[in-house]
Amino acid sequence: MKTLTFVRQFGEVLLAIAIAPLFAGWIAQCRAWLQNRSAPPLVQPYRMLRKLFQKDVALAADASRLFRATPYVLFGTMVLAAAIIPSIATDLPFAQAADAIALIGLFATARVFLSLAAMDIGTAFGSMGARRDMMIGFLAEPALLMVLFNAFLFSGSTALPGVVEASATHGSFIDPSLIFAAIAFLMVLLAENARIPIDNPATHLELTMIHEAMVLEYSARHLALVEWSSDLKLLNYACIGFALFLPWGIATHGADGTAALALAAVALLAKLVVAGGIFALIESLSAKLRIFRAPEYLATAFLLAVLGLLVHLLLGA
């Protein structure tokens, strides 16, 4: 049984690593369709990764060890995060070791490393991107915490598997407070993953970049790992969202035979397909915010999450 649990754990992590670029490719495809463009093939992100892994690294002369280590740190933290998030099954040994607050810590670690690496080279763009990203980060993290507290209140647990288990056993979870929290979460997700309306992943304008400005100096396998970690981060966020708000199909403890796991995998893919479409729709409909509107945007997310908490407390659980 113990071995099976670990097989499940590693299987889930490997699946996340494998489909993360596919999810990014799917969003790109939906976006292209919505904007009347012919879409790049679904496997384009994989081709990009293969191309980057085959290239030789061009390293800035002033790059320190930190700069070279950061892509591996990023990738490592995102893989670890994928291990904690119950995307298919809740019975995860890793998830017992770290709760959702530790998860936010993991994302923060990745952010700190990336910002340090961006400043390490000493170019104007790196520092510019780093300071903008830090501004977004310190506003987004409290909002995300508030969203999680909503879920914690419901389930009485700070671990994500606990949240999923609770909603699976309690059943009725269409609750006004969760709707507030869900909207807040979606806003944070877009901001944290460098997407419109906060950042534009497709931009070529170096002065407007946030995430892209930080990774401008990366090349070849380093860049591949950075890109892959970004894809993984987006997938992780989506899976956190599913665990909090749409836990249908996730195999719970004790009911996780092969059939249940297969069903969970299918449910995950279906949810990703829909979520990707929604992300692309939001990105196509909105313009990028002026950067000093970002605090208002994230404050709104925070406020919505707090409203969710209040609604929950006032209505009385």
């Binding site: 919505l34 104007a124 510019m128 070529h204 304008l205 170096e206 970049m209 313009a287 990028k288 000093f292």
Partner: protein, 515 residues
């Protein structure tokens, strides 16, 4: 002196607009500039010529645009060892960069304190001047780049961001040095000249009948405007009467060029605000137009359509039909996109108040073209002083007063629709007849001025003929010269990430100004 006295004392130059020609001495050079400033004239261009082989000295020219006429002022410098003239930058600030360029190319200097090279980036030695007649254009020099001192801003927390000349996107090269505190821009200094190709020198090796081809390629997005300006300067020197049908077809091509560029800019403006949908929509519309261009005019970007004496191709009935069908499809799409822009809160939030250029600043610094119209200055050579064939078309000038990105976008929308109206009128009223007249070989040492309102603003060609169908000197002037310095003012107080949007709303030519 008043304008009337000046004009009474002046000669007439060949040109498509009423052009007067005044020869002055050193004091009068400065006095005329002061008088022109008082009359609210616009400095169109400033350029020099090496005439030591012919007359034993250098010449410096300035062209001013008055409400009804163009005045070309010429000052002959007899000193060939250390030629110098008085800077007119205190009256016309836009002259500063042109004077630096004149020094780089001809070695004629002013007393202006800014002696940094503008076009010379170490590609040739400091003591060599490529536009002098004794310079061999085929001569190669090793690049010896020297440091360029930007004006530095000091203060608590102020730092610099250096951008370019190589950018993250596929655009022309130019260097921008921002002095910022946080995200707020305190000062922007441009450094251009990276695409200096020596077009003026190349003109000296070009035959008069081929010059329009070179002019069209100075800034490829203004091919019609430049080649028309060239052709009309040659035609005025030779006294060629261009057939009416050819003139109307040139106007049709010019409006097509205006629509194409405006469509491209509008799409890019939306895209720079993160609204990618607009880029794909406008790119499609622009591509449709380019394809119609290929069928109707034989070239997507209308290269070499305008030739001396007329146009290269007559408009067939099928081409006319294709154009009309295209206009019928284009107009509702543009109107629809306009309302999408207007109703999109995100786009409007980015556009409004961004990169505001006040009317006073624009007037003092001599803004021209689209940028000036967005800041409330009524100037459009198609309307006044109007030249053929626009006198029969009566174009309506678009004016906005806000001077921000939204105003410049609005001007583009209005001009696209107005150009569509003009194009339909041309197709409806165009007379039958020849589209080409023979241009005789021009007499030598004649100067002709061609001025055409391109989509950015007035494009100028000053052509001086040489013997045996050669070109003695041809000065091509892009309106970007005037409007680049204004960008430095429009960005003040804005935040760094808004610069690309503001820059795109100006969309100035690097190649055209670098020459």
């Amino acid at each position: 002196m008043t304008v009337d006295t000046i004009l009474k004392n002046s000669a007439i130059l060949p040109g498509n607009l009423p052009t007067h020609y005044l020869r002055v001495n050193r004091e009068q050079w400065l006095q005329t500039a002061a008088d022109m400033r008082k009359e609210n004239a616009t400095l169109l261009s400033l350029w020099g010529a090496d005439d030591r082989d012919r007359d034993g000295g250098f010449r410096i020219f300035a062209a001013y645009l008055l409400p009804r006429v163009v005045l070309v002022v010429e000052y002959f410098l007899t000193d060939t060892v250390a030629p110098s003239y008085s800077s007119i930058a205190s009256f016309f600030p836009v002259a500063a960069r042109m004077q630096r360029a004149v020094h780089d190319l001809l070695g004629i200097s002013t007393e202006a304190p800014d002696t940094r090279g503008w076009l010379r980036h170490g590609g040739w030695p400091e003591t060599t001047f490529p536009l002098r007649k004794d310079f061999d254009g085929d001569q190669q020099y090793p690049v010896a780049a020297a440091p360029y001192s930007f004006v530095s801003v000091e203060g608590d927390g102020v730092h610099e961001i250096a951008v370019g000349p190589v950018h993250a996107g596929t655009i022309e090269p130019g260097h921008f040095r921002f002095s910022v505190v946080g995200e707020k821009v305190l000062r922007l200094e441009e450094r251009l000249g990276y695409t200096h190709k020596g077009v003026a020198k190349l003109f000296e090796k070009t035959l008069q009948r081929d010059g329009h081809r070179l002019a069209a390629r100075l800034s490829g997005d203004s091919a019609v405007a430049f080649s028309w300006a060239y052709c009309v300067s040659l035609e005025s020197i030779t006294g060629t009467v261009c057939p009416n049908r050819a003139l109307w077809l040139r106007a049709l091509a010019l409006e097509q060029e205006r629509i194409a560029n405006h469509l491209g800019d509008l799409g890019a403006l939306g895209n720079d605000a993160g609204f990618a949908f607009s880029l794909t929509q406008f790119s499609k519309l622009k591509e449709d137009l380019l394809r119609v261009n290929a069928t109707a005019f034989g070239a997507r970007y209308l290269m070499d359509y305008v030739v001396p004496g007329g146009v290269a191709l007559d408009l067939t009935t099928e081409a006319r039909g294709a154009l009309l069908t295209f206009y019928d499809a284009l107009e509702p799409s543009v109107i629809r996109m306009h309302s999408i822009f207007e109703e999109h809160a995100g786009v409007q939030d980015r556009f409004r108040e961004a990169g505001r250029l006040e009317k006073e600043t624009a007037e003092q610094l001599g803004a021209i073209g689209l940028v000036a119209r967005a800041s409330g200055i009524a100037c459009d050579l198609r309307a006044h002083p109007c030249s053929k064939p626009y006198d029969a078309l009566t174009p309506k000038i678009s004016i906005q007063t806000e001077g921000d990105v939204a105003a410049r976008a609005q001007i583009r929308f209005e001009e696209v629709l107005e150009s569509l109206r003009l194009c339909r009128k041309i197709l409806a009223d165009i007379a039958a007849g020849a589209v080409h007249a023979t241009v005789p070989v021009a007499k030598e040492n004649q100067i002709g001025i061609g001025l055409i309102e391109g989509w950015r603003g007035p494009v100028m060609i000053a052509l001086e003929t040489g013997p045996d169908e050669s070109i003695r000197r041809c000065h091509a002037h892009d309106p970007s010269w005037q409007n680049w310095p204004l960008l430095e003012y429009a960005i003040l107080g804005n935040i760094v990430p808004d610069f690309p949007l503001i820059n795109k709303s100006f969309n100035l030519s690097y190649s055209g100004q670098d020459g």
